[in-house]
């Protein structure tokens, strides 16, 4: 036989060592970083942490109730998906960050390479931002291939994880050449700055948060959608308000779309056997609106009996016995309907975007950083927060304080898997007090009128971070040792 008889390169995929040789390939290198690796996190865990633990949602669903009860252990499979999915994002981002310059330098324009690397670094930063807020100290991995032979890898101190995030986002802001209009759906330089502002806000670097958010606002690259409800219509994906969002498809292939609708929707909305309404809007959230009629966001977030939605399946009326998880309501936000109305999809894989950051967030970061003394004037803070309120149909505030922004964020981003992170960046005592007093109960509708089964959960400081998955600590016991510094200086 000839020599090449025994040479069998892959016939249905690319050899990774021989790719990234054209500008098109380099530009496409980051596409998948906006969707598939995020699938398990967004579909299964993000809302458990963001809304169940924080108390804006509630459930009896056996897999997820532990988030509501603060009974999560390292054995919890759903929590484990946060760990694996976010690290999958990091692993895939690292592959791009390391492989693209190696393969493309000298062949593809430098700016194209740096833009791709910038996008990958921004997405890696976002994954680390979630990880550090969920788990605290975590291992920083820059090149996964270097760790293949190592069985003991330490975790890194929280300060260094944040420094790593900030360096990634700064690189992204400085190198990405895209704008919202030149590359819809991709992270632009201003998008990276907006995320950086949010990281600084979390770190209480109010001045940096103020400067960056002000810079993003002044760029005029983004604006609010006129109508809050339009934000959650699939056709409006990558609208003017969308700063960073995950980009799913309606291909119908598992994990190429997101499954949030499967968990949020009432039965018979999706066209499949999903629509588990595994989470309902908590009684606390229902109570937090200033006015159910006046605040447009209520109708766009929560399904009440007999509400009508023209955008779902060509017109959908909520059944009058609606009762997701004992709340006598159900969730509307991120519920988009059947594939034929939303450009494809299949069970547990729908094409609608998931917001990571939208312009309303930038405005509220801007307002909060001013209120917390990061610079700017009260007038600027008023302008920013009131833009958000006025869009919702609410009266403007004067001289807003931190609690106003907190309340506004809670309603504005309710069930967008966000509230938890606003809670835990308060002082620990405040966070504990808040979480311990959230109404997590249900309505017992076997009696007329329904009776409140009140439930509150006493939360302790150790519950503000989640445990590492036990399988990981068994595989890598170094996770249980003291975190080490990543940077030597």
């Amino acid at each position: 036989c000839s020599d090449d008889f025994l040479d069998r390169p892959p016939e249905d995929s690319f050899n990774a060592a021989e790719f990234y040789g054209t500008p098109e390939q380099v530009e496409a290198s980051t596409n998948a970083l906006y969707s598939i690796p995020w699938y398990d996190f967004v579909s299964n865990v993000s809302w458990c942490i963001g809304d169940l633990a924080s108390g804006t949602g509630r459930t009896w669903d056996p897999r997820n109730q532990d988030f509501d009860n603060f009974a999560i252990t390292g054995e919890h499979n759903t929590l484990g998906q946060a760990w694996t999915s976010l690290y999958a994002v990091i692993a895939q981002a690292n592959a791009v960050i390391n492989a693209v310059p190696l393969a493309a330098t000298g062949i593809v324009p430098e700016s194209t390479i740096n833009t791709a690397v910038g996008e990958a670094r921004a997405l890696r930063a976002i994954a680390y931002f979630y990880l550090v807020r969920i788990f605290g100290a975590v291992p920083i991995i820059e090149d996964n291939t270097l760790y293949v032979d190592q069985s003991s890898i330490p975790r890194n101190v929280v300060d260094d994880v944040y420094r790593f995030i900030i360096e990634d986002l700064e690189f992204a802001a400085a190198n990405i050449t895209y704008t919202k209009t030149s590359a819809p759906g991709r992270i632009s330089s201003n998008g990276a700055k907006a995320m950086l502002a949010k990281v600084h806000l979390t770190r209480r670097n109010y001045q940096a948060a103020y400067n960056l958010s002000a810079e993003v606002i002044q760029s005029n690259e983004f604006d609010l959608m006129e109508n809050y409800g339009d934000l959650f219509i699939t056709a409006n994906d990558n609208n003017i308000e969308s700063v960073i969002a995950l980009q799913w498809t309606g291909s119908g292939e598992y994990a190429e779309g997101n499954a949030v609708q499967s968990l949020y929707a009432l039965p018979n909305i999706t066209g499949f056997s999903d629509g588990w309404s595994a989470i309902g809007p908590s009684l606390d959230l229902q109570d937090s609106y200033e006015d159910h009629e006046q605040d447009d966001r209520y109708h766009a977030t929560i399904m009440d009996a007999d509400y009508y939605y023209s955008e779902i399946n060509g017109g959908y009326t909520v059944p009058n016995n609606v009762n997701a998880q004992g709340t006598l309501k159900a969730i509307k936000k991120y519920v988009v309907g059947k594939p034929e109305f939303i450009g494809g999809g299949a069970m547990q894989s729908y094409p609608n975007n998931t917001y990571i950051l939208r312009y309303a967030d930038v405005l509220l970061i801007h307002a909060e950083s001013i209120i917390m003394g990061g610079g700017g004037s009260v007038g600027e803070a008023e302008t920013s927060i009131n833009k958000v309120r006025e869009r919702a149909g609410l009266a403007p505030l004067t001289n807003p304080v931190f609690e106003d922004v907190f309340q506004e964020r809670k309603i504005e981003f309710a069930l967008e898997m966000e509230h938890w992170y606003d809670v835990i960046r308060m002082d620990t005592a405040d966070a504990i007090e808040y979480l311990s007093n959230v109404e997590r109960g249900t309505w017992d509708d076997s009696q007329t009128p329904p009776v409140l089964n009140s439930k509150m959960v006493t939360v302790t400081a150790d519950k503000l971070l989640f445990p590492y998955p036990t399988n990981e600590t068994i595989n890598n016991p170094a996770l249980l040792e003291d975190p080490v510094k990543y940077y030597n200086d």
Binding site: Q65, A346, E472, N476
Partner: protein, 1028 residues
């Protein structure tokens, strides 16, 4: 002066034999018989005639001046018995130096198993066969002498008439995909998806099965011989006169056992108690359980009596140097779980012909088509599991004929799907069409030197159509129907060129020398198209789908192997025999520099009883001592595993790319070094034949997909990167195989033949890198669970979890016990507190608390020994066969039992035993308190590990051969009728359906895990054999 001699040559039954060679002894003067067995030859009156014919004892007759010599030739049963197929040749059994077990066709006939791998169970020492599921047509796990590999396939190589076929149903070495899809999500499927690679072969066509067990025997197969080689030889025509045989059987199959799950009143009591304890709203319909009827018996709904039929028509014969065997068969086996079934049509043609005295050609060809209706099993969402867990309060159908199902929001989120609706609304059909066989030509070059060239092929076309209809049950509507069609081509070919030199020197030195070259290629290509949104369920074809939702997938690849092989067999005076072989394999699976592997072996035997000094020693006969050493390899991994690939995916930003795996250019062959020592002897005038073999297999440099921490690879979910394949570790299998065979003295009236096989092996992991531990994981009740651990010093795949020390029954006990999982003591019905009635887990490491570190080995899936015992009794025309088979000392992990005793969720059925649960009023209960949700009581523990030992009466068969005078004028030569019962009874302590669990999808890390396995049925058959 020559005389003319003529006559007729017949066999023992008086049938004329055409083509018999007749030679004047010591000359080249010869002739052969014509079609009617007549011959005529001119010879000197004092000559001696030599009559020879393949398969018959050669006879010599002096002419002594006669003009008419009629000869009756006897079939050479002895020589048939003693020739063993050893791969690229045959050898006399008495000269065999390696470890080979042979199964003859008479042991395999008329057993109602559709596939030959199932038939090997219990027949050969050292060969363990377990049925992974009872689903018709599904794959089995065959382990030759223990477990050889961790993640590569541990299945043996099958060689059918010279064509190698992998026993790996997971197709690890080729496409990496099982050819059947059985899951709702993705195509790789959960649960048992393995369909048997041997299902295409009709067992009735098999003449013999020879199993090469040790490396000195398998080294000639080199890189594919590490897990043993099963050589299957199909029937050939040998009789002079053509025979026509018709075999048939019909049978009924029934489930052997039902589990004792709760009926409706019991279920209502369970729900009421749980609702109260969990502080849930009560279910008003259950307020008076005693008034309720029995409810739905879901097991009765999914199981049925299933029919089985088999027909085979075969023709065989030979003349003028040509022999043929032609057969056609049809098998139809319904499944005992509704919605499953298997049928097969097969054709076989075997021809051998002498073209000239020096040239022989032949072909063995099989064409077959199998159809399988598949259902999901061996999974929490499998049909068996759903039936056991579904609550008896729900009917199968509503009065209006629609499917009954959950209606309230809580019910919807907790109840399991209606299994009948799942079966009736999902069709999953697999049709496999296959043509395989070989063609050869053999040339006698000169004195003992033969050149053989052979082309073999295995060409398959697989169609898998899975249609999920739209339907509704209860308040749930599944509006979108979905059709997935898979079309897969597999092409395999092999070309062999072999030179064999065989000569007997000086009557004592028998030399056989073989050199050969072989090249083989396997290629595959599959297209999967999925369409959704069909207007109706009536016509599921892709052109009728809503094109927006169409998904296309394609996979394609090839592998190649090139080999040089050589073997020398030298026997001296039927006393000493030595075999040495070497094979070099070049494989496309490895990178430059690692492609070639070399596999040598040497073995020898000493037939002590043929020594002169043994002449007077007659108490023990046929004593043979033999032993050998060999090195073989395993390369059964995916192609290009040494490199890294990018998978194209579709994203909201267009086509994207994900890194699929980490590369490892240093990847090389898995090695197995094996030593075998055997002793054969006979007692009681050769009536009791004994074979005892001991062996040691040392497998090293395992091909293993490194289990890296999740934060390096991103877990196993979407977007994760597959860890690299590496070579690591060393594993040992030591064992003993014993075969005892006893025959009564032949007599006309009564005979008894009994064969007992006994196998024992001990598996031990000797080395893994860096103290690595390997966990075997699977999905139980939608949660990924670690079930087994593999670590140095222990056997592979040991059950791993917590030890239970009973239940907390007193406050004192509770307060003095180590803290369990950081939970405070206290009565909290929701979660998070340890209380009376909870399981008391053992603080294994003695650190004063019970936590993840207290997980330990809790069971062993490896048996102490397995055995098979075949008995055949013959009395006049009657024959009785009894086959008993079993396993001792192995544990089973009862995962479905765990699910059925979890008592943590409402709306799910449980075993009746859970009603004896702990409460203040029932402190001596056998079952823990009911706790909501993620209770620690259902952690993986020894509570679910059960003794899986069993003894099974596998087959009892009573036959009667009609006296020939009854039909002698009708042209029929033989009529045989029989009845048999397969899987008659199983003695076991195991509480599930069946202790024979097998490995989930042949995974060595998931042995004996019963996760709603499709139970093996009991089969009653009636059969008839007619020969013309």
């Amino acid at each position: 002066q020559n005389v003319s001699v003529k006559g007729t040559v017949t066999d023992a039954t008086g049938v004329a034999l055409p083509g018999v060679n007749i030679v004047e002894k010591g000359t080249s003067n010869g002739t052969s018989t014509d079609f009617d067995g007549n011959y005529q030859i001119s010879v000197p009156p004092n000559a001696t005639l030599v009559f020879s014919y393949v398969g018959f004892i050669t006879r010599e007759t002096p002419v002594s001046g006669k003009n008419m010599i009629n000869i009756t030739m006897e079939e050479d049963m002895q020589s048939l018995d003693e020739v063993v197929v050893i791969g690229y040749g045959t050898q006399l059994k008495e000269n065999i130096t390696g470890s080979v077990s042979s199964i003859k066709s008479e042991d395999l006939v008329n057993i109602p198993q559709v596939s030959v791998d199932q038939l090997m169970q219990g027949r050969a020492a050292g060969v363990s066969v377990t049925l992974n599921t009872g689903q018709p047509g599904s794959a089995v796990s065959v382990r030759v002498r223990g477990v050889g590999s961790i993640q590569g396939s541990s299945e043996p190589l099958y060689v059918i008439d010279g064509v190698p076929i992998s026993g790996d149903s997971r197709n690890i070495g080729t496409s990496g995909r099982s050819i059947a899809s059985s899951s709702n999500l993705g195509d790789d499927g959960a649960g048992s998806t393995g369909v048997s690679p041997l299902a295409s072969l009709n067992p009735n066509d098999i003449e013999s099965v020879d199993i090469l067990k040790d490396a000195s025997a398998t080294a000639i197969y080199g890189s594919r011989g590490a897990n043993g080689v099963v050589i299957i030889t199909t029937k050939k025509g040998k009789k002079s006169k053509g025979t026509l045989t018709y075999n048939t059987y019909v049978g009924v199959q029934q489930p052997t056992k039902m589990l004792d799950v709760l009926d409706l009143p019991g279920y209502a009591i369970l729900q009421n108690e749980m609702n109260e304890i969990f502080d849930l709203n009560e279910q008003v319909e259950f307020l008076r359980p005693e008034l309720l009827g029995p409810g739905t018996n879901w097991q009765q709904e999914i199981f049925k009596t299933a029919y089985l039929q088999n027909h085979q028509l075969s023709f065989s014969g030979g003349n003028d140097g040509t022999s043929y065997y032609l057969s056609t068969g049809y098998t139809d086996q319904q499944g005992t779980v509704i919605g499953s079934g298997f049928d097969r049509i097969s054709l076989r043609l075997n021809v051998d012909s002498k073209v000239t005295d020096r040239i022989k050609v032949g072909a063995n060809l099989t064409a077959s088509r199998t159809n399988e209706e598949l259902i999901l099993s061996g999974n929490s969402r499998g049909i068996v599991s759903l039936a056991l867990r579904n609550n008896p309060a729900i009917a199968v159908y509503n009065p209006d004929g629609s499917y009954a199902g959950p209606t309230t929001p809580t019910e919807i989120s907790l109840a399991v799907p209606n299994p009948i609706a799942e079966i009736e609304n999902t069709s999953n059909n697999l049709r496999r069409s296959r043509l395989f066989g070989n063609l050869y030509a053999e040339f006698k070059l000169f004195d003992g030197l033969t050149y053989r060239t052979e082309f073999g092929g295995d060409f398959g076309y697989n169609k898998n159509d899975r249609f999920q209809k739209s339907y509704s049950y209860g308040a749930i509507t599944i509006e979108s129907n979905r059709l997935s069609k898979r079309r897969e081509d597999t092409d395999f070919w092999v070309i062999k060129n072999l030179l064999t030199y065989n000569k007997l020197f000086g009557d004592k030195h028998d030399v056989t020398f073989l050199v050969g070259h072989e090249a083989q290629e396997s290629a595959w290509n599959g297209v999967v198209s999925t369409g959704v949104g069909f207007i109706s369920n009536d016509i599921p074809t892709l052109n009728l789908s809503d094109t927006d939702g169409d998904v296309n997938d394609e996979y394609s690849g090839s592998t190649a192997l090139e080999s040089y092989l050589s073997r020398l067999i030298y026997s001296y005076d039927n006393r000493y025999s030595v075999t040495a072989s070497i094979r070099a394999d070049g494989s496309s699976k490895f990178d430059e520099g690692n492609k070639w592997g070399y596999f040598p072996s040497i073995s020898a035997s000493w037939k002590i009883s043929n020594e002169a000094f043994m002449e007077d020693f007659t108490a023990v006969q046929n004593i043979k001592l033999y032993g050998g050493y060999g090195e073989v390899g395993n390369q059964n991994i995916s192609n290009f595993a040494y490199g890294s690939t990018l998978n194209a995916v579709s994203t909201g930003l267009g086509t994207g790319f994900l890194i699929a795996n980490f590369p490892n250019p240093n990847l090389q062959w898995e090695e197995s070094r094996q030593t075998n020592l055997g002793l054969d002897f006979s007692l009681f005038d050769s009536r009791l034949n004994t074979t005892i073999e001991v062996y040691r297999k040392l497998n090293s440099k395992f091909l293993y997909r490194l289990a890296l921490t999740d934060f390096i690879v991103g877990g196993t979910g979407p977007g994760s990167i597959q860890p690299p394949w590496v070579n690591l570790g060393e594993m040992e299998n030591k064992g003993i195989d014993v075969t005892l065979n006893y025959n009564t003295t032949p007599s006309d009236n009564f005979s008894w033949n009994s064969t007992l096989t006994f196998s024992h092996y001990k598996n031990k992991m000797l080395e893994l890198v860096d103290g690595l531990t390997i966990f075997g994981q699977t999905n139980l009740d939608d949660t990924n669970q670690i079930l087994t651990i593999t670590e140095v010093g222990q056997p592979i795949g040991m059950y791993y979890g917590y030890k239970v020390e009973g239940m907390f029954r007193t406050l004192e006990d509770l307060e003095n016990a180590p803290i369990q999982f950081g939970q405070p003591v206290g009565d909290d019905s929701v979660v998070g507190r340890t209380w009376l009635g909870d399981l008391k887990f053992k603080d294994v490491n003695g650190d004063g608390v019970v936590d993840g570190d207290d997980r330990t080995v809790i069971g062993n899936p490896h048996p102490d020994f397995t055995f098979g015992w075949q008995n055949n009794f013959n009395y006049k025309g009657f024959s009785l066969g009894i086959f008993i088979q079993g396993s001792y000392g192995n544990d089973v992990f009862n995962a479905i039992g765990r699910s059925l005793t979890a008592t943590n969720l409402t709306y799910r059925n449980q075993l009746a035993s859970v009603l004896d649960y702990w409460s203040v009023d029932n402190p001596n209960a056998s079952h823990p308190r009911y706790t909501n949700n993620a209770t620690n009581n259902i952690l993986i523990s020894d509570r679910y590990v059960e003794d899986g030992s069993y003894l099974r009466i596998q087959n009892v068969r009573l036959g009667y051969q009609l006296p020939s005078k009854v039909f002698e004028k009708s042209g029929i030569s033989k009529i045989n009728i029989y009845g048999s019962i397969q899987n008659l009874y199983t003695f076991t302590k195991y509480s599930g359906y069946d202790p024979e669990v097998g490995s989930l999808n042949q995974d060595a890390l998931l042995m004996g895990v019963d996760n709603g396995r499709y139970p093996t049925p009991r089969t009653f058959t009636l059969g008839l054999d007619v020969q013309f």
